[in-house]
Amino acid sequence: MGRNNPKIVAFCCEESGMPAYEHALSLGLELPDDLKVVALPCGGKAETGYIMKALDEGADAVMIFACYEGNCKYVRGNIRAEKRVNYLKERLEKIGLNPERIAFCPVAPASGVRFAELVRQEVEMLREDA
């Protein structure tokens, strides 16, 4: 695997995470190639099953890019996602894995810079953790 290039799966809400990713691309910001991007209709659709499957299939980290609180088109999707992430973090810790391998990241649609920065931080964290 080579921890130098950790693998990250990003679940991106169609309303915020995806536009932020595209924005990062349009700005020419560097994103690791080992990033898998999955578009979802809502951050709240990032199911436990999806997240665990990603980890199971070898992802070093899973990031969920959703809307800021109060901005969800479906009212509470982002809050559900965040709660789910917190629950999964607890579980990871219980079985002795680094809970930081799952991250809930609220972003605005036009915040490509923040998107790239969050991914960069995650990569750095994983490298140190290795």
């Binding site: 991007v37 578009a39 709240g44 999806y50 299939e57 009212v75």
Partner: protein, 445 residues
């Protein structure tokens, strides 16, 4: 790094349209003046409107407006004109002395129970627009200090009126006290900044005392900067300020040490403006409750800041204090956007629903746990009787009904997938984006 990420996009499934008939009619209900704006606007767009209000005469809707409006001639003229217009409009059916007693159903098919002078009537309608008036109350912290009436102080709602009066006889020192009961509310911060700057223009010294200041929303940052530049002093207090006559005493929260708190004393404050608490009216809470529309502190707005006047429920829009306590000028805009939003759903006689972009329940897997029913933000899931597997039979048709299971109403589902992601039995799939696609994509990450 060359930006060659693998990306799974939401599949672009060709829409499968189902034509749904919607009669262009709406019930507009409430005691807030913005009901007039909504009724007028909807009627202009060709929707038959029934206006339900609690007063004897329609004029009273405007007469019961808070003092604030009287201060602003433009606004009160506008509403007075609207009132005449609505009263003269023969195609708007007005029900006076009437209140809404019960609401059920969904977009295109609502049933509204109305109580009018002791008799109940039920109206069938396609869309609903609501605007209730909130009730301003003085914060408890002040009652505790023995201050009972608004007249001693300018309350937030009357601030503009007061501010205009100030223009002819400006107070030398004005203090705004915000964040009563720990509630940090945008509308209060905005008004304090705007009217603070306004008063500053007449040479008043202006202080804003708050617990926290919301600048991270919309164009607040700009207003904040302008106010700062104008020389408004903004303090963050630790405990609620004490008010003794014209003196305000509080502990500055930004002071360096917790142990040596810095007492700040403001003397000779001519006018103190207190943020009122606006309590939603009883009718409003019930109304939203019947429709399962989420409220925050009794208002719909904070949950949907970027969709003005819209609720998560298709075919239901709100304005007035039901949306959020705001000034009648802003309220007017909210009412118009709400009406336009409603038109989108019910204005055209028929509506096309894409039955691909929805969720679907496999009734044979459903454990009737009600998780999806509680979660759905659009109230699109009902527990229904099924005959054989996947064969749905209408309510009341008991024969052959073998089990009950969740069922998605395609007319109102928005395809967000929240139900699918929480269903413990994995009985729900998004038709246009089944789990399998995501899981396959994740393989050998």
């Amino acid at each position: 790094m060359s930006n060659q990420q693998a990306v799974l996009r939401i599949p672009e499934v060709a829409p499968e349209l189902k034509e749904v008939e919607v009669v262009p009619e709406a019930v507009v209900a409430g005691d807030h003046p913005t009901v007039l704006a909504m009724a007028d606007s909807l009627s202009t767009m060709g929707i038959s409107v029934t206006l339900i209000h609690p007063y004897k005469e329609i004029e009273e809707i405007v007469a019961h407006m808070r003092g604030l409006m009287e201060a602003d001639e433009e606004v009160s003229k506008k509403y007075a004109f609207l009132c005449e217009k609505v009263a003269a409009n023969k195609s708007i059916k007005v029900m006076s002395e009437a209140t809404v007693d019960d609401v059920s159903g969904w977009w295109g098919n609502f049933s509204v129970g109305i109580l009018q002078k002791g008799t109940s009537v039920t109206l069938k309608t396609s869309g609903i627009a609501v605007a209730y008036k909130g009730n301003p109350v003085l914060p408890e912290a002040f009652s505790a200090e023995g201050i009972k009436s608004f007249s001693d102080f300018l309350a937030q709602f009357d601030m503009r009126k007061g501010a205009l009066k100030e223009a002819t006889n400006p107070a030398k020192r004005v203090a705004f006290v915000l964040d009563v009961d720990g509630r940090d509310e945008k509308w209060a911060s905005v008004t304090a900044l705007r009217f603070g700057a306004y008063l500053k223009g007449f040479g008043s010294q202006v202080y804003i005392l708050c617990r926290d200041f919301k600048v991270s929303v919309d164009d607040m940052e700009r207003e904040y900067r302008l106010a700062r530049e104008a020389g408004i002093l903004i303090f963050k207090y630790r405990d609620y300020p004490r008010i003794e006559g014209k003196r305000i005493i509080f502990q500055d929260a930004s002071a360096v040490s917790e142990k040596a708190p810095l007492d700040v004393v403001l003397d000779d404050v001519d006018a103190i403006v207190i943020q009122e608490k606006v309590v939603p009216s009883k009718g409003q809470e019930e109304f939203l409750g019947w429709l399962k529309i989420p409220q925050e502190g009794g208002f719909v707005g904070p949950n949907n800041p970027q969709f003005i006047g819209r609720t998560p429920k298709k075919g239901v829009v709100v304005a007035g204090d039901t949306w959020y306590p705001e000034y009648p000028t802003d309220g007017y805009v909210t009412a118009l956007s709400a009406a336009a939003e409603l038109y989108k759903w019910i204005g055209r006689g028929t509506y096309q629903v894409d039955i691909q972009r929805v969720a679907e329940v496999d009734p044979s897997k459903c454990a009737t746990c009600l998780t999806c029913y509680r979660i759905c933000p659009h109230d699109s899931i009902r527990i229904e009787r099924y005959g054989e597997r996947n064969v749905y039979i209408t309510k009341g048709e008991k024969e052959g009904a073998t089990w009950e299971a969740a069922r998605v109403k395609v007319e109102t589902c928005n395809g967000c997938g929240l139900c699918a992601s929480e269903c413990p039995a994995k009985a729900i799939q998004l038709v246009y984006y089944p789990d399998l696609e995501v899981l396959e994509f994740l393989e050998k990450t």
